[in-house]
Structure formats: structure tokens, C-alpha cells
């Protein structure tokens, strides 16, 4: 295990901190990360955010490949690795080296879970990502599949998308059923990954504020020795609601 390619990647030597979230779609991880982001900024930190498959370099290619359904497990995996490399180089390392906070929605563990379910070699995909730095904190939002499904169908999503439901794997003609099978397999992979890489498991069925408070507690403890570095003065953003002030006042 200690000779494992991914275990070889050491924690980074930079003054900044990298915090990541993982979980299947519908786990609520993105919401939690957003709330964390706002909280950290309200404390005066400069926070950077990056998310999976967002780099200009391959975003269009991935979109096109998905549209034409021509992505194979290997090309799918490699495209995402390309995106990851580009974001690591441009969006993650510079702020980290400058001593700032970086939040990432999904990290290499997504590849380890998803790509492996698609049939890619687990050893190969870990070697592929061996250039990645280890995050300072990694949260895994664990959610039962049925709750994820109802959240996604009931919310703004509506329909499951082809690749998201694993339709390329011919698991079922029905999109929802395919999603259920595909994402359940990903959940199984995540369970292994939690042990392999020491991810912090969060109960994604708890209510939002409860999860957030727990997350903040963990982050606060981990940031005790962190010295924030700013080039400009931090804007203390405070949560506030607009009140309609009666004109007569």
C-alpha cells in the first residue's frame, strides 16, 4: 500500500491550503463547498475555487465528445486528466504557492471512482494522476443512492444526462435505472477510496446547516497554524438580507 503510486504523492510543501470535496452527484457536496467558501471569505481569507472539467483547454472537446457519444472510458479518463493538469498548473498551484486557500469541487478521487467503474485499470489511473499534489483536507459526502436520485430528479436537474447515468455502459435502457446502477458502483469505489486515501466522511443525509457546522469545525481546527497572506485588504463580506425599508422611515 505504501508503494502505491498515489500514496507516493506527498503532501505539498506550499504555504497555502487545498481543501477538496468528493461525492456522487446529488450528495450536496457543491452546496457545502459554496457555504464553506463564503464563510472563509467572511473571515478575510482570499479563497480560490476550481471545479472538475472546467478548463478552457478541454471543456469544449469534452462537450463535443459527449454529444457525439464518441468518448471511450480511456479517452474520457485522459480528457479529464488533461483538464485536471491544466487546472493544477494554472489555478491551483499559483495561489497555493502564494499561501492562499484553494477549494476544489472534485479531485483525482473522482477519476479513481468513476473511470474504474467504466473499466479503466485502477493501477493505471492512479499512475496517470501521480503528478497531483495531495489535498490538505478531503471531504467525502456519503449519500444513499435513492436520496441522491430524488434530489436530482426533484431539483433543477430533471433528466439524467447520458454519461452521468452511465448509459455508455449499457446497464439499462432506462436512464434512471442506469443511473442507479452506475452511481451505486461509484459509491462502492468511493468506500474503498476513503480508506485508501484517508478521506473525511460526511453524512450527506443530515441537514445542510448541520453538515456545514461540522465541516467548519474540522476546517477551523486544521487551519489553526495557517497564516493568511493577502496582497490587498480583505473585504469582510457579511451575510445580509435586503430589507425593504419603508420610505416613511
Amino acid at each position: 500500500m505504501s508503494d502505491h503510486p498515489a500514496a507516493r504523492s506527498t503532501s505539498h510543501p506550499y504555504p497555502g491550503k487545498l481543501i477538496i470535496v468528493e461525492g456522487i452527484d446529488g450528495s450536496g457536496k457543491s452546496t457545502q463547498l459554496l457555504l464553506l467558501h463564503k464563510w472563509l471569505e467572511s473571515k478575510g481569507h482570499k479563497v480560490f475555487f476550481t471545479e472538475w472539467n472546467s478548463s478552457d483547454l478541454v471543456k469544449d472537446t469534452t462537450k463535443r465528445g459527449k454529444k457525439t457519444k464518441s468518448l471511450t472510458p480511456t479517452t474520457f479518463s485522459l480528457l479529464h486528466a488533461t483538464d485536471f493538469a491544466s487546472r493544477l498548473y494554472h489555478d491551483i498551484l499559483p495561489p497555493l504557492k502564494a499561501g492562499m486557500l484553494v477549494l476544489a469541487d472534485r479531485y483525482m478521487y473522482t477519476a479513481f471512482a468513476r473511470d474504474v467503474v467504466r473499466g479503466v485499470s485502477p493501477e493505471w489511473v492512479r499512475k496517470l494522476y501521480s503528478f497531483a499534489i495531495r489535498p490538505d483536507m478531503a471531504f467525502y459526502f456519503k449519500v444513499p443512492i435513492e436520496i441522491a436520485i430524488s434530489r436530482l430528479l426533484g431539483g433543477t436537474r430533471g433528466q439524467f444526462k447520458y454519461y452521468e447515468a452511465g448509459m455508455d455502459m449499457n446497464l439499462s435502457q432506462d436512464v434512471t435505472e442506469s443511473f442507479r446502477i452506475f452511481q451505486s458502483r461509484i459509491l462502492a469505489q468511493y468506500d474503498k477510496i476513503v480508506d485508501e486515501f484517508d478521506l473525511i466522511t460526511m453524512d450527506a443525509t443530515k441537514d445542510i446547516a448541520e453538515q456545514q457546522n461540522e465541516m467548519r469545525r474540522v476546517v477551523e481546527a486544521a487551519l489553526i497554524d495557517y497564516k493568511p497572506r493577502r496582497g490587498t485588504h480583505g473585504r469582510r463580506t457579511v451575510f445580509w438580507r435586503r430589507f425593504d425599508v419603508p420610505k416613511s422611515e
Binding site: 478541454v58 472537446t61 464518441s70 485522459l78 488533461t82 493538469a85 493544477l88 493505471w124 501521480s130
Partner: protein, 216 residues
């Protein structure tokens, strides 16, 4: 330049004999060719993305074109293979392991022909043809003060690495300074033995660091 012409001639030679032939070339995949072109026009490519873009292109071609062709009994002629990527990554990183791991899924070719040229002749040929561009000169590495110096240094490093890989991957080396007719004859001589026991179609690859092409 020389390489693609030779592949065309080999294709014709084989087809005349009745073999089905498919050709494939570097960065020509439907999925990636535009992306790679655009990425190279900009200046945002880091070392890993550079290699990974090629790996994605390669995987796409391997899975959609090469493997189906081989299964159908075709002979596949590849203009460049993974060795180009291995050399380019090594020159940029000094590390051999990662890039070999990335390309671990590649098929082992039945034949690899390395059209070897020395850097002096290469420089002359390139200047006489299309000139040196940013990437072929390895300008991202800042090896020299200008395009010419950088080109020479970069290509020398690539040639050095190709020479080392000759042993590792059992390349058949052909002197690219010879005349096109001589080179074509040598290529055919090397391919012919693979055909005589023709039960499965071989995958034949022609690779060279010495012939810059528009798709570097």
C-alpha cells in the same frame, strides 16, 4: 515531409498486392485535432497537459480506428507512434516513468521504423522547406536565445532520446539521409518478412524525430 510520402508509397505497394491498409497519423483524431491545434496556438500548455492531449488523441485513434482495422485484417501504417510523445515528454521533464505509464495501454507494434537523421541535415532541410516553428523548436523550454538555436538544441535532445529508445523498443533504424528511393526500398524490405506468414495483419509503424511535419 519524407515520412508521409513514404507511408503513401507503402500503402500503394501493399494495396497493389491485395492487402487492406489503413493509415493513421499523429493528432489526426476527430476528437482532438482541433483542440491540439488551438492549444498550441496559445501559450498555456503545461508539461502534463501537453502530453495528455496527445495521449487522448492517441487513445481516440487507437480505439476508434486502429483496433477495428486490425480486427478486420487490415495492415495499419502509423505516421508517428507513442515514441514521439515519450521523447518529447522526457526532454521537458527528465522523467521517463510517468509518460510510459500514461501510454501503457498502447499496442506493441509489429514493426517500428525509425527514420534517423542527424541534426545538421535536419536543420538544413527544415530551413529549406517550411521554417522553424515555436513547438518544433521547443521554445517553451527556452533552450536557446532564438528559434534557430532553440531548434537545434531541442531536436538534438529528441534525437538523443530516440537513439536511446532504439535499444529499448527495438527500432529498425533507417538512414534518412539516403535517397527517397533507397529509403522506400529499405522500408519494403523490412515489412516484407511480416507479410509472408500473413495470417494476422501486422501493425507497421514509421516513426521519426527528424521529419518535422505540420502536425508536430
Amino acid at each position: 515531409m519524407g515520412r508521409s510520402t513514404h507511408i503513401e508509397m507503402l500503402q500503394e505497394w501493399l494495396e497493389v498486392q491485395g492487402y487492406g491498409v489503413m493509415t493513421t497519423g499523429w493528432t489526426r483524431s476527430n476528437l482532438m485535432s482541433k483542440t491540439i491545434e488551438m492549444a498550441k496556438e496559445g501559450n498555456i500548455l503545461d508539461r502534463w497537459s501537453f502530453t495528455l492531449l496527445y495521449a487522448t488523441d492517441f487513445a481516440d485513434r487507437l480505439e476508434h480506428q486502429v483496433i477495428p482495422a486490425l480486427r478486420s485484417g487490415f495492415i495499419v501504417l502509423a505516421d508517428r507512434y507513442i515514441y514521439t510523445a515519450l521523447a518529447r515528454d522526457f526532454v521537458r521533464s527528465g522523467d521517463r516513468r510517468w509518460v510510459r505509464d500514461v501510454f501503457g495501454f498502447a499496442l506493441v507494434p509489429d514493426l517500428v521504423c525509425y527514420l534517423r537523421i542527424d541534426v545538421e541535415t535536419l536543420v538544413l532541410r527544415v530551413i529549406e522547406s517550411k521554417g522553424m516553428n515555436f513547438w518544433e523548436s521547443g521554445m517553451d523550454l527556452r533552450l536557446g536565445g532564438d528559434l534557430y538555436d532553440s531548434f537545434k538544441k531541442y531536436q538534438s535532445l529528441l534525437i538523443e532520446e530516440f537513439d536511446k529508445m532504439t535499444e529499448e523498443f527495438k527500432f529498425e533504424v533507417i538512414d534518412a539521409r539516403k535517397s527517397p528511393e533507397e529509403i522506400q526500398e529499405e522500408l519494403q524490405n523490412k515489412i516484407r518478412p511480416l507479410l509472408s506468414n500473413h495470417l494476422e495483419s501486422p501493425a507497421v509503424l514509421v516513426d521519426s524525430v527528424a521529419h518535422p511535419s505540420p502536425t508536430t
